[in-house]
Amino acid sequence: MQNSIQVNHRKLAAGRKSSLMEYFKKHYFLYLMLSPALILTLIFKYGPMYGAIIAFKDFSPIKGILGSEWVGLYNFEKFLSSPNFEVIFMNTLKLSFFGLILSFPVPILLALMLNQVRRAGVKKNIQLFLYAPNFISVVVVVGMLFIFLSPTGPINQLFSWITGEPVMFMSRPEYFRWIYILSDIWTGAGWASIIYVAALANVDPELHNAANLDGANLLQRIRHIDLPTIRPIMAIVFILAAGGIMSIGFEKAYLMQTATNLPTSEIIPTYVYKIGLQSGDYAYSAAVGLFNSIINVILLLTVNFTVKKLNEGEGLY
């Protein structure tokens, strides 16, 4: 009895094993197809996550990641207690937050406006122009900012005609955020309107006709037909943007930095780059970067949680 049970077990195990083998034999191709992406992800995405433990070490490149000594949270404490911390942290937060608030409504307005253009050809041409800046590189956009806003540039030719004095746009800290955000809107708002335009195009024209017969004017129709249509998309776009507040890009801010606008233009990513790759303080820089990532994850989870909560009630949708 005992024996036969054991044998049965063995048979079952062998059967399971061979069916797994058979499965792989049959479907190995799927795993083969997945492997390049998997290997690259493990190396170039998970590799650095392992490497990030240097944030907790007194890292020296000679001793390597494992050989360097643990220092606990020393690098984090160093950042949090440094006089720069508050300024850099707030700069990052303000730049993203104001950017989100100011940029969010523009594509929606553009889409609502485009939706009222009834001749398809005209609409298409307007879209063609509005989307174009999306394809201009950040280097060129910032290059254009420097040219246009320079003390002798075209904008200042206008300004000095009015005020008599050129405005030092790029070197004064108080202008940095405005220039950054407004030029972001210039580059991206048209492109960001695509998704709203597409949603609005799906609205049944009969709805508008019926509302019109009932005496609803244009603004009322926009408010009661168009806006409810795109509200779910607005919510998703907003959540994604809010969740990414700390993951603001390095590229543009770094290019826009001048020696004198640093009080507002130094943000965590540019700081990480400077202390890490320019000054070679690897461990400290890794700690600052990790700090930023963690804040970002917390933010994302919070936003996600809040939205879920709100959705159970009446909430965003």
Binding site: L34, A37, I43, L128, F135, S137, V139, I147, F148, P269
Partner: protein
């Protein structure tokens, strides 16, 4: 549509047209200004800005840019990086997307989580740099092409696409005894031209316009892509001395530096701006497929 417009509505529509015109002007005026400025005579540009008299125009800026070795090399490098990057990204994402779209794949959920996690959390700049350095990729073209080749977003895009391919197609050929590899290459792949095209366009444009990876990984100026060359001209104000022959004085350099900037902007942005209207619908498709998820 037979909507009848009241007077208020007609007023609103006129206002709408005015605002849209304004938006278009805000977008294209700076671009038109750059193009006109790039054709100005350098001295006129410096002393009085742009002018519309033909006699004030010249192509000096373009002569400078198009004979500049750094610029030409940057252009060639950018074409190579963007093409190679597009090919690699497309291969990696299409293959992974196809595998993950197949319901028969075991462990699909686990792999998807593995990929998705990297969207929200990463090791950071310095650990990534150290990894690339330790792999011996610094100052090689691979540093720009390989680390970014796997992109979760692209995998999701292609998975969404393949989920839309009717299963009956695959099953029918399965019955015929075709291997999975043959099904993929002879049936699914020919259907996937749109997704391949969309992914390749996005990858090409992204790589063409980026400077950051090249800046941190490539020291050798011979490997620099266009955007890094542009950065030194436009932002660091370093007009390559070799652009202006030795005999010319510093004054000449100053005279020419502005026109060189304008011409550089036009030359570097032109390929994409010309190409984009033809591919507009594919770019839009990319946005739409991504939004359904």
């Amino acid at each position: 549509m037979f909507v009848k417009h009241s007077r208020l509505d007609r007023f609103m529509l006129a206002l709408n047209a005015a605002f849209l015109t304004l938006a278009v002007l805000i977008v294209i005026l700076p671009l038109i200004y750059v193009v006109i400025a790039s054709f100005m005579d350098p001295s006129v540009l410096l002393s009085q800005g742009i002018s519309f008299r033909i006699s004030d125009w010249s192509t000096e800026g373009y002569k400078m840019i198009l004979t500049n070795p750094a610029m030409l090399r940057g252009f060639a490098n950018a074409v190579f990086y963007a093409s190679a990057f597009a090919v690699l990204t497309v291969m990696v994402s299409v293959c992974a997307g196809y595998a993950l779209s197949d319901d028969r794949m075991k462990g699909k959920g686990f792999f998807m989580t593995l990929f998705l996690f990297t969207m929200f959390f990463g090791g950071g700049l310095v650990p990534t740099y150290l990894l690339v350095k330790n792999l011996g990729l610094l100052d090689t073209v691979w540093a720009v092409i390989i680390p970014g080749a796997v992109n979760v977003w692209n995998i999701i895009l292609s998975r969404t696409f393949f989920k839309g391919v009717p299963n009956e197609l695959k099953e029918a050929s399965n019955v015929d005894g075709a291997s999975e590899m043959r099904i993929f290459f002879s049936i699914v792949l020919p259907l996937s031209k749109p997704i391949i095209f969309v992914l390749a366009l996005y990858a090409f444009v992204g790589q063409w316009n980026s400077y950051f990876d090249a800046m941190i990984y490539l020291d050798n100026p011979n490997l620099h892509p266009l955007q890094l060359v542009l950065r030194s001209i436009l932002i660091q104000n370093q007009v390559d001395p070799s652009m202006i022959s030795d005999q010319l004085a510093a004054a000449e350099m100053k005279r020419l530096s502005e026109i060189i900037k304008y011409a550089a902007i036009v030359v570097s942005s032109l390929p994409l701006i010309i190409m984009y209207p033809f591919f507009q619908k594919y770019f839009e498709k990319g946005v739409m497929v991504g939004s359904i998820k």
